[in-house]
């Protein structure tokens, strides 16, 4: 697998940074299984795969006042897929965030405003582009065992190039996507070392479904392009949908500054014309925070 050509140096790079830098915030390793990577409705179109994701975040924070903190964070992540290597990607992002704590102590509410731009570099060139996020979030710790948070996020993805149109009248910008996301979540320590977390998200925006030629999907779509990542004769259809997701996780503390988390996420997307899909994701994540 040629993907290791860049995954391994990346891991080595992280290792070297760990030894020398105090500005590294977090490093992570995740194994992620997605049972419907194609976001498809029909069994014949549904493709599943497992990816290994390596990530790192580094940055500087400026405590502007007793309550306000500005932080600039560089994030790097690389994903390597077992079967669909065209989805292998390397992302680099820069995030500017402002965190405001409404008072003193761990139980006061917090407000977080953030904006980020992330460069997306895929093996499959048509997926290359930029992802822009803007988010407002509020969080409150209720006790030493529990906390809640709510966020609103807008996402915009812009691809570098647009594929050739299959028909002059049909747009082909399948990877130019916008969405709004509203999320509610909470966590609860079920044991001094285990935290259970849950989040519910409603997403209103563009989704991409990759299928064989499909009339109902075609009628619901706003853009179409060939998507050879999943084989010949496959097409990526962009359409508007409401996606609801429920994610659950159990996270175990590993030596104070690290955690190992098993997570499950259920996604349910519904587009006009009776187009809907479901997906189940399972994640095993190791995170170390400096």
């Amino acid at each position: 697998m040629t993907v290791w050509k860049w995954v391994l140096p990346f891991v080595w790079g992280l290792h070297a940074l760990d030894a020398s830098a105090g500005w590294l915030d977090e490093v992570g390793l995740e194994l992620r299984f997605d049972d419907n990577l194609t976001r498809a409705q029909l069994d014949r179109d549904i493709k599943s795969d497992t990816a290994l994701v390596v990530s790192a975040a580094a940055g500087t924070g400026y405590q502007l006042t007793d309550n306000g903190r500005l932080s600039l964070t560089l994030t790097l992540s690389g994903s390597a897929y077992q079967r669909y290597e065209g989805l292998n990607n390397l992302n680099a992002g820069l995030e500017l965030a402002y965190r405001w704590k409404f008072g003193l102590g761990p139980y006061v509410p917090e407000l977080r405003l953030s904006g980020s731009a992330t460069r997306l570099d895929y093996r499959d060139a048509p997926r290359d582009g930029w992802l822009y996020l803007g988010e407002i979030a509020i969080a409150k710790r209720l006790s030493d065992r529990s906390g809640i948070r709510m966020s609103y996020r807008v996402e915009q993805r812009e691809s570098d190039t647009v594929a050739d149109r299959l028909r002059p009248a049909i747009a082909a910008d399948v990877f130019d996507l916008t969405s709004q996301n509203l999320s509610f979540g909470g966590d609860y320590a079920i044991h001094p070392e285990y935290v259970f977390s849950a989040a519910y998200t409603i997403r209103d925006g563009d989704i991409v479904s990759t299928t064989r030629r499909n009339l109902p999907v075609f009628l619901a779509s706003s853009a179409i392009a060939a998507d050879p990542v999943f084989g010949s004769g496959r097409f990526a259809y962009k359409m508007k949908a409401i996606t609801r997701s429920l994610s659950l996780g159990v996270s175990r503390v590993v030596g104070g500054q690290a955690s190992f988390t098993l997570g499950y996420e259920y996604l349910d997307s519904r587009a006009k014309g009776g187009i809907d899909y479901e997906a189940n994701l399972v994640r095993a994540t190791y995170l170390y925070q400096f």
């Binding site: 105090g22 915030d25 977090e26 992570g28 995740e30 975040a57 924070g61 405590q63 007793d66 309550n67 903190r69 932080s71 964070t73 965030a97 965190r99 704590k101 003193l104 102590g105 761990p106 917090e110 977080r112 953030s114 979030a137 969080a139 710790r141 006790s143 030493d144 065992r145 948070r149 966590d187 320590a189 044991h191 001094p192 935290v195 977390s197 989040a199 994610s247 996780g249 996270s251 503390v253 590993v254 104070g256 500054q257 690290a258 955690s259 988390t261 997570g263 994640r283 994540t285 995170l287 170390y288 925070q289």
Partner: protein, 227 residues
């Protein structure tokens, strides 16, 4: 010979306290309490504070904290986790990290705040009321430590084996107490009376109930970076 004598005198002056201590061995004029704090499973409890309150309060003037007592901040944690001090002790909170901390306490025994700082704050914090003081940092919510302010000069903190020795106790009657950050129930419920004599040591053992340790965690949760 002259030189050797002078040298000896200089050394004695330097080691004055230790020498006095050696000339009046423990047991001749002072008693000891050997304390053991265990949990309900019989395991030694670390970071418990054992206090001996003399029945004769005038015996409670000994000791006194003249040395600089500190609670460090190292790698975004307080060190030590539990610091027992006598009432009237000033404690410094040096920040050994290269980022700022914001130390505070809401505890009735000492309500204070050291807003954002690096290095050592200009003046130490005076702990002038007995009781347990919970320390926090407003930048790093997981940082927690306790200053236990004792109204008696006779106290000790247990080690990993749950043992603590209280020495140099004037003979007399004492009320003993054990305290721990996770003590289930009231500290007063651990009280017991002992008589300390000039010689020999009193053994005192507690089997205390501990509440589960639900601390705000430092370890990250996926998808929650930045909180």
């Amino acid at each position: 010979m002259k030189n050797t004598l002078r040298e000896l005198r200089v050394r004695m002056a330097h080691a004055g306290f230790a020498l006095t201590f050696c000339l009046s061995p423990v047991g001749a004029h002072a008693g000891e309490i050997h304390a053991l704090v265990r949990d309900k499973t019989g395991k030694g409890v670390v970071d418990a504070v054992v206090v001996a309150l003399p029945a004769n309060r005038s015996a409670g003037n000994a000791g006194g904290a003249s040395a600089t007592i500190i609670v460090d901040q190292v790698n975004k944690e307080f060190i030590p986790y539990v610091l027992p001090v006598q009432v009237g002790t000033a404690v410094n909170f040096p920040n050994k990290d290269n980022i700022r901390h914001h130390v505070y306490s809401f505890s009735p025994a000492k309500n204070f705040e050291l807003p954002l700082y690096m290095g050592t704050p200009a003046s130490p914090v005076l702990f002038d009321k007995p009781g347990a003081v919970v320390l926090g940092c407003n930048i790093h919510d997981w940082m927690i430590a306790y200053v236990y302010v004792s109204d008696s000069p006779y106290f000790a903190k247990t080690g990993a084996d749950g043992k603590a020795n209280l020495t140099e106790l004037p003979p007399g009657d004492y009320t003993l107490r054990a305290w721990h950050p996770r003590l289930a129930g009231k500290e007063e419920a651990t009280e017991r009376k002992v008589a300390v004599s000039r010689t020999g040591a009193v053994e005192a053992t507690w089997d205390i109930g501990l509440t589960p340790e639900f601390r705000i965690r430092r370890a990250p949760i996926p998808g929650q970076r930045g909180y």
